[in-house]
């Protein structure tokens, strides 16, 4: 199977929160897809449907996801009463669980902080622990729900580099929910735009290797995506 995710005509309804009105989405193995959308467009609902986190939701449709999937939330969601290493080991099975956790912590450059309590880490470090926790499970699908939304701009840039590097090494299919257009273009192979519970655009990110051409293409994609999201930025228009 070369496909990691297959969604057909997914409908979700809540009494309070967002809805999905017939979503079709395919993600190939190892493909990095960014899901853009305004607040309330249903992007988190789609991610949570794939992660099977909203059992109380009513709806219909078909979702096929790999057995090994892993979720990164906007908050690092570390258990405050467990040290860093124990947070990564949580739920890992097998005799080599600790070794895998240590390797993952090393990969996110947190070797040596295994014994720290979560509250002793910075926001970026906590999110790196969450990333290590996900990667140590060797996921076929990584679902990330605005994982860098709560981080400062500089930390976010560093996290982008780390996530890109690690997604090349581990090669999971990735669905990154974000409202940050630059982040989406920067990281993804493909950007899907969701509006009112429907996919309204599906754009391949084809940045050329040449620096000047790359910058021009980046700006063009940025303008196109912002327009889809209903934002008309004066600066982008001028460029």
């Amino acid at each position: 199977m070369t496909q990691a995710v297959r969604v057909r005509n997914l409908v979700r309804r809540f009494t309070l929160r967002g809805v999905l009105n017939g979503v079709d989405l395919d993600i190939a193995k190892g493909e990095f897809v960014a899901l853009l959308g305004r607040s309330g467009s249903g992007k988190s609902t789609l991610l949570r449907a794939l992660a099977d986190l909203d059992q109380e939701a009513t709806g219909s449709g078909e979702t096929v996801v790999p057995e090994r999937l892993s979720v990164i939330f906007q908050d690092a969601r570390l258990l405050p009463w467990k040290r860093v290493l124990d947070n990564v080991v949580l739920g890992l099975n097998g005799p080599d669980a600790r070794r895998r956790a240590l390797t993952a912590l090393d990969e996110v450059r947190l070797a040596g902080r295994e014994r720290a309590w979560p509250h002793e880490l910075s926001g970026g470090e906590q999110q790196r622990v969450a990333l290590a926790r996900s990667l140590s499970r060797d996921p076929e699908l990584l679902l990330a729900d605005e994982p860098f939304g709560a981080l400062d701009a500089l930390t976010r840039i560093r996290m982008h580099g780390l996530l890109r590097q690690l997604s090349i090494v581990h090669n999971p299919a990735v669905l990154l929910v974000t409202h940050d257009v630059d982040e989406a273009i920067e990281l993804a192979d493909r950007v899907v735009v969701l509006e009112d519970g429907r996919i309204v655009a599906d754009i391949a990110i084809d940045l050329p290797p040449d620096a000047a051409a790359r910058a021009a293409r980046f700006i063009a994609l940025r303008r196109q995506l912002l327009a889809l999201l209903g934002v008309h930025d004066a600066l982008t228009e001028a460029a």
């Binding site: 986190l53 892993s70 969601r77 258990l79 949580l90 739920g91 309590w117 509250h119």
Partner: protein, 298 residues
């Protein structure tokens, strides 16, 4: 203030920093940094704790008591002077009455505490971790809560007689309530975010309870334990006034018969010290087991 830091007024080192502050002069941030390094929090924190600060209140009480007694303002028949109480306590220790009664009281409170905590935790687990358990037990406990332990004593006496079993049962019943309430509340109050995390990590039900629910509920249980320890001593006072032939409460009761105010006061002070010491012990356990917490007080 750091001598190398130029004062805004150009008179560094001549005017102490607090004076400058009251004059409305904004000091360079070195002062804030020094405070942060000393482990203190900012304006809304509690400041640096003193090691034995909690002794201030009791010390003030003893001070006013001494002044009142020495000046004759407090009649010694109403309340004996602190030094009279101390000599009485020494006498009671010399003839062994205090130790013997204290040991008996401590065993009663300890047994009641032990059984109360065991049953309280067990029922809270059943009631907190399963819906059916909650339906069966929670209403019953709330009903029991509405009945003061004192009101149950006649029934307990009919069931268990007037011996030790009755006393331990009454103490255990007063311990059970706070343990159950706080533990149950903490178990049911686990943040939904952690439940989602456990689901996304595919934790088994057992692992979820062991790694998420129980450690998450520990602060609640320990708070319940603090109430429970106090409850045990309070219940002890009540049961020892009833048909007891030993214990601190019996000692107090006997002293009342002979109008020995000093012995009564010694008994009360012993109760207070026991309560204080056991609360201290629970707080020590709290500090050791909840090192992961970051709170206003630390």
């Amino acid at each position: 203030m750091n001598a190398q830091t130029p004062s805004p007024l150009g008179i560094a080192g001549e005017i102490p920093a607090p004076v400058l502050e009251t004059l409305g002069v904004r000091l360079p941030p070195t002062a804030d940094r020094a405070r942060a390094q000393a482990g203190q929090h900012g304006r809304l924190g509690l400041g640096k704790p003193l090691a034995y600060g909690w002794l201030l209140g009791p010390a003030l009480l003893i001070f006013y008591w001494s002044v009142g007694s020495a000046s004759g303002y407090i009649d010694s028949r109403v309340l004996p002077a602190p030094w009279a109480t101390v000599t009485t306590a020494i006498d009671l220790i010399r003839d062994g009455r205090l130790q013997a009664n204290l040991a008996i009281s401590a065993v009663r409170a300890g047994e009641g505490l032990f059984f109360g905590v065991m049953v309280g935790v067990a029922v809270a687990l059943v009631s907190g971790l399963s819906l059916v358990g909650g339906y069966v037990f929670d209403g019953l406990v709330q009903m029991k809560r509405a009945i003061p332990t004192l009101a149950l004593i006649p029934l307990v006496i009919l069931w268990f007689g007037i011996g030790e079993a009755m006393k331990v049962t009454v103490i255990a019943m007063s311990v059970f309530i706070p343990i159950y309430l706080q533990t149950h509340n903490a178990l049911r109050g686990i943040d939904i975010k952690y439940v989602e995390l456990a689901e996304s990590l595919r934790l088994s039900h057992g692992a979820f309870i062991r790694h998420v629910v129980l450690p998450g509920a520990l602060p609640g249980f320990l708070l319940g334990l603090r109430f429970a320890v106090m409850g045990a001593w309070l219940a002890l006072v009540v049961v020892e006034q009833l048909n007891a032939t030993s214990g601190i409460g019996y000692m107090i009761n006997l002293a009342r018969t002979y109008a020995q105010t000093d012995v009564i006061v010694v008994g009360l002070v012993v109760y207070a010290l026991l309560g204080l010491a056991s609360d201290f012990a629970v707080r020590f356990i709290e500090a050791r087991t909840l090192t992961w917490r970051r709170t206003l007080a630390r």
